[in-house]
């Protein structure tokens, strides 16, 4: 166990694994904040379910990052002992839950990307990533279906739900550009047959989003400035609070096992 915050020597593959693991952990954590607060009991169960899927994905990916890094770090070392600047998740997933519309739209925009992403990753040259892909693509397909149903209900429900859904789209849209960003880490791994080119996911993502928004009688916000920085650890102010809460017990008891 680490005596203090860790800095990971990020090879392209370790960095790539942490990005995906952090996406899943941070979004799963956000969903866990809903426990006992959802609009219906059925939805309380569904949000917990999706949160559990994501936590499961994060744990497999951190464990693999630990093996690849080869310094004996486990899933908790990565989750609890990296500071904000070491986190590599998308800005989208760290955005606060807001109202139910924000949570659902956030989940929908992410899942519509993650489903084709993980399906493509089933062909990854990295056997563990391919195995995670096989599990995650099924889970994310459910997230897409569940959230799409809600986006349609909210968009085509009452005037209030429609206004809230539209506001959530406007709020979160600028975070969607980052989904398709490609940097040196990606290029190295794409060339090695380990990673999928995110540019190839833009078309299926758009198809899902446009189709569901049309059914919801909602419109995609106009193309505009896209926010980025999560992959290099330049986050919004929200992530630090999430981590402070999540990490405090581990960090107050260095060396303890739980």
């Amino acid at each position: 166990m680490a005596p203090g915050p860790i800095r990971v020597a990020e090879t392209p593959l370790v960095s790539y694994l942490l990005r995906r693991a952090d996406d899943a952990l941070v979004l799963g954590h956000r969903l866990s904040e809903w426990a006992g607060r959802a609009p219906t009991m059925e939805e309380d169960m569904a949000l917990a379910n999706m949160g559990l899927d994501l936590l499961g994905q994060a744990r497999m990916l951190y464990a693999h990052a630990g093996e690849v890094e080869g310094r004996g770090r486990d899933e908790d070392a990565f989750a609890y002992w990296r500071d904000e600047r070491g986190y590599r998740n998308l800005l989208l997933v760290e955005q606060p839950n807001g109202d139910f519309a924000v949570t659902i739209v956030r989940q929908f925009l992410y899942a519509a990307y993650a489903e084709p992403y993980w399906r493509a990753m089933m062909a990854s040259g990295d056997a563990t990533l391919a195995a995670v892909g096989a599990k995650a693509e099924k889970e994310m397909a459910y997230h897409v279906r569940h959230c799409a149903e809600w986006v349609v209900r909210l968009g085509d429900g009452t005037a209030e739900s429609r206004a809230r859904a539209a506001a959530a789209l406007t709020e979160l849209w600028p975070f969607t550009g980052e989904l398709f960003e490609v940097d040196g880490t990606d290029r190295t791994l794409i060339a090695a047959g380990i990673a999928v080119d995110p540019q190839t996911l833009r078309e299926p993502w758009q198809r899902t989003v446009i189709q569901v928004l049309a059914e919801a009688t909602l419109e995609a916000p106009p193309a505009g400035f896209m926010r980025r920085g999560g992959r290099s650890g330049r986050h919004s102010e929200h992530l630090g609070h999430l981590l402070a809460e999540m990490q405090h017990l581990q960090r107050s008891n260095p060396g303890a096992a739980w």
């Binding site: 954590h29 949160g51 936590l55 429900g157």
Partner: protein
């Protein structure tokens, strides 16, 4: 998780007009012959009302019980614990749903039952009015609260009302998993650093007595278990169940190397039971009456979730109506 004083007794002693003695006698014969009563069977009105109250109190307890544990979801000290706790809180929600559905078979809508909870008309287990102040409380709740719940609920698997008995079979399986999980958290803490061990002891100190109160008032002071016993809703008295719980739990505490906060606790070789000290029944009365540490917070949080979700439920209804109208056209 669970509700206490489920045994608070049958509602309304007298039989309503039109319910003849022959019906009551036939019903009692069926119960005596250990036949399961099903939703469409004839049953005395008081049986129906007693069950609605008991099952819905149990459901409310599951739903309120999500709060003390949910309090540590975002602070769980490892990813494994975080996932297990989220799954447990989700199980409790599932139990709530399952139990509301069982209550609905008796001819009452879930919305009405939820309304009774939010307006304070209905009770839930007093144990959830205590706060979770450290991670060890998550272990203590699993080990002790779920342990007490199991003592109470195992006999309910043989309850005369079919839907409730069947719900209990599934609920008990999950509770017993939660109980083992809670004990394992306590074991990890008890064998951990001195700070962790102190955390575990502190949790035990705070949860022990409220857990003994979960079984309800002493038999001598409980007026109305008779009808519930005759109808085979309740099979053991409060004191019998409490004693079983203490007998099962004391050796577990010793195994953990923790001290139970009861100077009068001693093993009685003659009876083969652990004798425990006096329970502070005033405290139980206070907490049930609304003056526990978290009563106001628990209901406020429930109301807040309900009110915040109103626009979502309205949207779902409006959308369904629109779809139906389209299909009809």
């Amino acid at each position: 998780m669970y509700t206490q004083a489920l045994n608070a007794g049958a509602v309304g002693a007298g039989q309503p007009p039109g319910e003849d003695a022959a019906l009551l006698a036939r019903f009692q014969e069926r119960v005596d012959a250990d036949q399961r009563i099903e939703p469409n069977d004839a049953m005395p009105e008081a049986y129906r009302r007693t069950l609605i109250r008991q099952i819905s109190q149990h459901a409310h307890s599951e739903i309120i019980g999500m709060q003390p544990e949910g309090n540590w979801l975002t602070r769980a000290p490892s990813l494994r614990r975080k996932a297990a706790l989220l799954a447990k809180v989700q199980d409790e929600c599932g139990h709530g749903l399952y139990l509301y559905a069982a209550a609905e078979t008796l001819g009452i809508a879930r919305e009405e039952l939820v309304d009774q909870l939010l307006t304070g008309k209905a009770k839930y287990s007093s144990i959830f009015n205590y706060p979770t102040l450290s991670w060890a409380d998550i272990g203590a709740i699993g080990w002790l609260v779920d342990g007490a719940a199991i003592m109470n609920q195992i006999p309910l698997c043989r309850c005369s009302y079919g839907p409730y008995a069947r719900a209990m079979i599934r609920v008990c399986k999950e509770e017993s998993f939660h109980q083992r999980q809670g004990f394992e958290i306590m074991l990890t803490l008890a064998r951990g650093t001195s700070a962790q061990k102190a955390m575990a002891q502190d949790a035990l100190d705070r949860w022990w007595w409220p857990c003994l109160m979960m079984f309800g008032p002493p038999d001598a002071a409980s007026q109305h278990s008779d009808t519930s016993t005759r109808w085979k809703i309740k099979r053991f008295s409060n004191d019998e169940l409490r004693r079983k719980f203490v007998d099962a739990t004391v050796p577990q505490a010793h195994f953990l190397g923790l001290t139970l906060p009861d100077p009068d606790l001693r093993f009685d070789a003659d009876s083969g039971h652990w004798e425990f000290g006096a329970i502070d029944w005033d405290e139980l009365r206070r907490v049930i009456a609304g003056d526990g540490p978290c009563n106001a917070d628990r209901i406020a949080a429930r109301r807040c979730a309900h009110e915040d979700g109103a626009w979502v439920r309205e949207a779902a209804l409006a959308f369904a109506a629109k779809r139906q109208a389209k299909q009809a056209a």
